[in-house]
């Protein structure tokens, strides 16, 4: 369904959009895969003073000297500011010192709850997914988090089959009620657009459409009656400068191929 463009891939658009969610000077909990690249892009463009925290026990505030595919790749350890325990970086997260984190998802619902564990429920699962990793922790404890995923109707469901990583639960006030200290999803970046959340109700709202995508495309691929912002914008295409950085850090297009 995603609309492809000749000058960039959908993954490049999504990574560029995710990088723009990072403000300069912020502390970023960097997840696996696409977010690795989003952080490097942000660092190399508008957020030179962002600090990256990696759940393996790594903090770095410079881009790596060469491309990486995982946060455990040696270039990500070399000249890191701190190599330490997972408990230490989780401490920073749990204290509330992380501004923003990134999560990939397999299934998301109207209130931004994520499932990366069991499709078809946990009793007799149809599909076992890898599980939480640090996603549940980020979704529970970061100041805000950004979800990145493919937009398909089977993935955008009224209620997730299993709640791995908390969004706004069943709506406004839920996070406080269950004891979560802060946070919640700030955006969902998909193959069709960017979605934000209503502050009161905690409900997902279509905010921006990727170039060439229509509201109808989105509605047709979403499993509930989606709310639409009064003024839906168009997601900016990645700039030449952004694409140059992305291609430097992902020269084989491992993450950003079409």
């Amino acid at each position: 369904m995603a609309v492809e463009h000749p000058s960039y891939t959908m993954a490049e658009l999504m990574v560029a959009a995710s990088a723009r969610e990072i403000a300069d000077g912020e502390v970023v909990f960097v997840g696996m895969r696409l977010p690795l690249l989003g952080f490097l892009l942000a660092k190399s463009t508008h957020a030179a003073d962002a600090t990256g925290i990696f759940e393996l026990g790594i903090i770095r505030d410079t881009a790596t000297s060469e491309p990486i595919l995982t946060m455990g790749d040696l270039p990500n350890l070399c000249r890191a500011r701190w190599l330490s325990d997972t408990a230490d970086v989780m401490a920073l997260l749990q204290q509330g010192l992380v501004d923003v984190g990134f999560i990939g998802g397999a299934q998301v619902d109207r209130f931004g709850n994520l499932n990366t564990s069991y499709i078809g429920g946990c009793e007799r699962p149809e599909t076992r997914l890898p599980g939480s990793g640090g996603a549940c922790d980020l979704a529970s404890l970061a100041g805000r988090h950004i979800i990145i995923m493919t937009h398909e109707k089977r993935r955008f469901v009224p209620r997730v089959d299993y709640l791995t990583s908390p969004g706004y639960g069943d709506g406004g006030g839920w996070r406080r009620r269950v004891g979560l200290p802060r946070g919640g999803p700030a955006a969902v970046i998909t193959t069709l657009g960017i979605f934000r959340f209503d502050r009161e109700s905690g409900e997902m709202v279509l905010s921006s459409l990727h170039p060439g995508v229509t509201v109808e495309d989105v509605l047709a691929n979403t499993g509930w009656e989606l709310r639409i912002a009064p003024a839906v914008t168009t997601t900016p295409s990645p700039t030449e400068a952004e694409l140059a950085v992305l291609r430097r850090f992902d020269p084989q297009a491992f993450w950003t191929g079409s």
Binding site: G72, L77, L83, G131, C136
Partner: protein, 303 residues
């Protein structure tokens, strides 16, 4: 420090990983994964193991595929660069594998509780999540001081932790550098520790930097010299990550028959510690070698 703890890998696994035991592995998460030790567990066809780890990056899938595992207590089982792993999926979807779902933080705190000798640790994570449904080791509690709702995580104290390190002496004193993950907690929490090491060095080398020692040597049960024992995961100071091996494995484990062929080549042909490097070959090892060296500034421990 009286007697040597040097074992060959097979004897170490034979002795300290009995059928039915609980084993923590992959505690540095994506680096220093003890693949060689995991493959020895597969060769010895251990049964009914409980595997404990955060992000296992492919190793747990292999041991599960070999039929050694009854239960997984982990936060993520997959292949970091390709996603889901097939043996794990087959085992869960077929109903033959028990699971306890953790997040990275809850698993870290479960091991830390084990390490500290207390039955639980409080956290603020996972509240409202379904992890409580598939993990009996999570309960909500109220803080006795503030009344805050917290997620209590029950302790995990494995029978054995297996870690891969850069260098160790024969008495169990070892240097590990890079990101530490949950290694310190896993070692302290476990009754036995098996160390596989790229190099065996004299106690003086380890003693020159006691801050870099990963866990007290007196807690270590066995040390085995296993060069390339972390491949294809990266080992700081020794070799880079072999991305190709992770991509290959994805493609070689889609069916049980594929997986059987994969293990016949990469696991079952290995007998001594020199076999695996020979199987890899000089060219591949050279392609993973460090191209730039960054040596740590010295610290003086004199008096």
């Amino acid at each position: 420090m009286s007697s040597s703890k040097l074992y060959n890998l097979a004897d170490a696994i034979e002795r300290f990983v009995p059928h039915g035991c609980t084993v923590a592995m992959g505690t540095c998460q994506e680096s220093l994964i003890p693949f060689a030790a995991g493959h020895e567990i597969m060769r010895q066809a251990k049964r009914d193991l409980t595997l404990v780890g955060t992000i296992s990056d492919m190793l747990f899938d292999q041991i599960i595929g070999a039929g050694c595992v009854r239960t997984v207590r982990a936060s993520w089982v997959g292949n970091v660069i390709t996603g889901s792993c097939y043996n794990f999926r087959r085992a869960v979807e077929g109903g033959s594998l028990e699971q306890e779902d953790h997040s990275n933080l809850t698993l870290t705190m479960a091991l830390r509780a084990g390490a500290m000798g207390v039955p639980f640790m409080p956290t603020r994570t996972a509240l409202g999540s379904d992890l409580f449904k598939t993990n009996p080791g999570l309960k909500t509690i109220a803080c006795p001081f503030t009344g805050d709702i917290l997620c209590a995580v029950a302790a995990i104290a494995p029978d054995t932790a297996i870690i891969h390190v850069q260098r160790a002496d024969e008495y169990g004193n070892a240097h590990l550098w890079g990101n530490l993950g949950v290694t310190r907690e896993a070692c302290l929490a476990s009754r036995h520790i098996i160390i596989t090491a790229e190099e065996i060095v004299s106690p003086d080398v380890i003693g020159s930097d006691p801050n870099r020692v990963i866990t007290p040597g007196f807690k270590v049960s066995a040390v085995a010299h296993v060069p390339w024992g972390g491949h294809p995961s990266p080992v700081p100071g020794y070799y880079n990550r072999d991305h190709g091996a992770f991509l290959d494995y994805r493609n070689s484990s889609k069916t049980s028959a594929d997986f059987a062929r994969w293990r016949a080549r990469w696991v079952d042909t290995v007998h001594g510690s020199g076999d695996y490097p020979a199987l890899l070959g000089e060219e591949r090892m050279a392609s993973l070698a460090l191209r730039n060296h960054v040596w740590s500034e010295a610290a003086d421990y004199g008096c």
